[in-house]
């Protein structure tokens, strides 16, 4: 789950990371009041869960309350990469002498959290990694020992920070690591961490991604989820416990298991079609779940055919077939349907589908099923 900049920065601040004074606004009037309160120059920053806000015109400097209100008015009406801007953050403008990057990720190969710093802040770290990888300094963190002072010193020295900033950099790095562990993050990032003309370090932007699997112990964070940032179908799917990702194609896919669902999308492409979605209905295939999934798929108007690919392992194919037929009773699909059931009791399952009154195309192999679905979708 991604958090907004203002949410991330508030959590960083709780762990001792200095951030600019600021306030959140959802109307131009609130933006005006916030700017008045802060005094001086402010930055008006759109709060959307995508990168590239600045380039899209979603971040503007304002000299005073009136200008802040005008910028807020423009930005609050914008869509950035398809997402509507509902809130802006009004932050005191920082006096920027240098921009640094500081972030923590889960290093899957090292099986540890890794902290990265770079003297090239303010641009995406992936870009720096591609163009100038030597600029990124990295330490991995032993979960039993935590982030150690010598490690933050290595980073500070590695990115060429002046000696006078070593201590404050160390405190900020520790604060960021505390936030990372306290809130079960899979990513925590300050980009840029700004050094002001006066030599102070300040987290001007912040980003955090929370591990969905850990939300059970962070009820307060779970409430911060921006449900508007999800596609409506993805939100419905999440609430129903289904794993769904909308894609651009025309063939709806209903599959049990994530790996098999991806392989099914791939084989559709291989035979010249385009998948409309990723959908994993998970273990078992009760009628209710199948119906919910089918409704989601059919709500997408670009879907011209649906492919069911179910591997009956512990779940028997005849049970799955009954689930599918019961779901049809409820949903009444109007596009061609291709079903491939394989595994335990596959013959019984296929016979049930063949005997039904629905015009269902059955297939034995995945390759065959994919080709039939591609043909049916036109």
């Amino acid at each position: 789950m991604k958090l907004h900049e203002y949410q991330s920065k508030r959590l960083f601040e709780k762990q001792g990371v200095p951030i600019p004074s600021g306030a959140i606004a959802s109307t131009p009037q609130e933006a005006r009041d916030a700017a008045k309160q802060l005094g001086g120059r402010v930055v008006v920053k759109s709060q959307v869960l995508v990168g590239g806000r600045g380039k899209a015109g979603g971040i503007k400097l304002a000299d005073g309350p009136e200008e802040a209100a005008a910028h807020a008015k423009a930005i609050l009406g914008m869509r950035i990469k398809g997402l509507p801007v509902r809130k802006v953050l009004i932050d005191e403008a920082a006096d920027i002498a240098q921009e640094i990057y500081l972030g923590i990720v889960v290093d899957r190969a090292a099986r540890r959290a890794a902290m990265m710093a770079s003297s090239e802040g303010g641009v995406e770290i992936e870009e720096v990694a591609r163009v100038n990888p030597e600029a990124i300094k990295r330490v991995t963190i032993d979960p039993c020992l935590g982030l150690r002072g010598y490690q933050t010193l290595q980073l500070a020295k590695g990115i060429g920070l002046p000696k006078a900033q070593y201590r404050s950099f160390g405190r900020i790095a520790q604060g960021l690591y505390s936030a990372f562990t306290a809130y079960d993050a899979s990513l925590a990032e300050i980009n840029p961490l700004v050094m002001t003309g006066g030599g102070e370090l300040l987290a001007v932007d912040g980003k955090m991604v929370i591990d969905d699997s850990a939300l059970f112990r962070h009820a307060d964070l779970a409430e911060m989820r921006d449900v508007e940032a999800e596609a409506p179908a993805e939100r419905e799917a999440r609430q129903a416990g289904l794993s769904y990702v909308k894609l651009d194609g025309t063939i709806g896919c209903m599959v049990n298991g994530a790996g098999l669902a991806m392989a099914t999308m791939d084989i559709i492409k291989h035979f010249g079609g385009a998948p409309a979605n990723f959908l994993d209905i998970g273990g078992g295939a009760q009628a209710e779940r199948v119906a919910k999934a089918l409704r989601l798929i059919l709500e997408d108007e670009s879907v011209a055919a649906v492919l069911f690919n179910i591997f009956g392992g512990i779940t028997r194919c005849d049970e799955v077939a009954r689930g599918i037929l019961a779901a049809f009773e409820e949903v009444k699909p109007s596009v061609p349907l291709v079903a491939r059931l394989v595994g335990t009791n596959e013959k019984e399952g296929r016979a049930l589908l063949d005997a039904s009154s629905y015009d269902l195309i059955t297939a034995e192999t995945l390759a065959d099923a994919a080709q039939r679905a591609v043909a049916a979708a036109g």
């Binding site: 039993c144 899979s186 790996g259 991806m262 998948p275």
Partner: protein, 292 residues
């Protein structure tokens, strides 16, 4: 021979009195696996699976009483880290964790502890281990596999079944099918499993099933090039996956341009590991590579 589990494995089930635990324990017993003990805190003294398995309160007690040498974990995600650590602390050699949705930071701690103890973990978020004809440890459907010379290692569940089923139907049988799990932080990885298959006297070929996310496949390709004498055939799921979206598994996500199927396929092809375009092609390639 087989890797990790065989007919001599004496299995302990943590969470045996839960719905999933009891169901799958019965399936494992019916397959012929020696399920010698179960653990559910507070239910010591009871018996599970129609009176076939004694239940203990702790792993240490169960090991002392029954000589269990491997443990499988079916407990819910929030209790799984504790269960894994308990098994390692009791001196268990092999711990397998089926549970999906264990928090990543918990797994980082668990991994650090297990490395320190020298315990082998397989999983979490995975379908288990199956050495056909010998032992089924997990939730894989036993009847889709048959004993033979091909090792299978995979990050996925039903996709593994699909591949194993296709292999078996073509008369290509298996030594052991190993699920390694779909999470970002796991125990046994591709390289560990490949090492075991390379050492195993009966395994003649290996099938590796990868997916998008992370760089485990790239590292496996490097390892195959440097250390494997046995032929490996690969498959990578997620060629059509968009960047930035989690495809079901917690670990299946393309981030910052890394973890794409294209990179993984290129890494395998660069070291002459053939990559199947779809699951059914795997059997064609394997068949063509040996006198099976």
């Amino acid at each position: 021979m087989a890797i990790l589990v065989d007919k001599d494995t004496r299995l302990l089930v943590q969470g045996i009195t839960g719905r999933e635990g009891e169901f799958h324990s019965t399936q494992m017993l019916d397959y012929g696996t020696q399920v010698v003990a179960g653990v559910t805190p507070g239910k010591g003294g009871a018996r599970a699976c129609d009176d076939r398995v004694p239940v203990f309160d702790t792993v240490a007690e169960a090991m002392a009483e029954t000589g269990a040498n491997a443990s499988i974990i079916y407990v819910p995600a929030r209790f799984a880290p504790n269960a894994i650590i308990e098994a390692a602390d009791a001196g268990m050699d092999l711990v397998v964790c089926i549970t999906e949705g264990v928090p990543v930071l918990d797994m980082i701690e668990v991994r650090a502890y297990l490395d320190h103890q020298g315990t082998r973990l397989v999983g979490p978020n995975y379908p288990g281990l199956l050495s056909p004809g010998q032992a089924k440890v997990g939730i894989m459907p036993g009847h889709i596999a048959a004993p033979g010379p091909v090792g299978v290692v995979s990050r996925s569940g039903t996709l593994t079944y699909e591949v194993v089923y296709a292999l078996t139907n073509r008369g290509i049988r298996q030594t052991t099918c190993v699920g390694i799990g779909g999470d970002p932080i796991i125990g046994t990885d591709f390289i560990d499993a490949l090492t075991l298959f390379e050492q195993d006297g009966e395994t003649e070929q290996v099938v590796l099933i990868g997916e998008i996310g992370g760089t485990a496949e790239e590292r496996a390709a490097e390892f195959i090039d440097e250390h494997m004498t046995k032929p490996v055939t690969a498959f990578v799921a997620g060629r059509t996956a968009p960047p930035g979206k989690r495809m079901g598994h917690a670990g299946a996500i393309i981030q910052g341009g890394t973890g794409t199927a294209a990179d993984k396929i290129a890494a395998f092809e660069a070291v002459d590991v053939p990559v199947a375009e779809h699951p059914e092609q795997i059997a064609d390639i394997v068949e063509g590579r040996a006198g099976l």
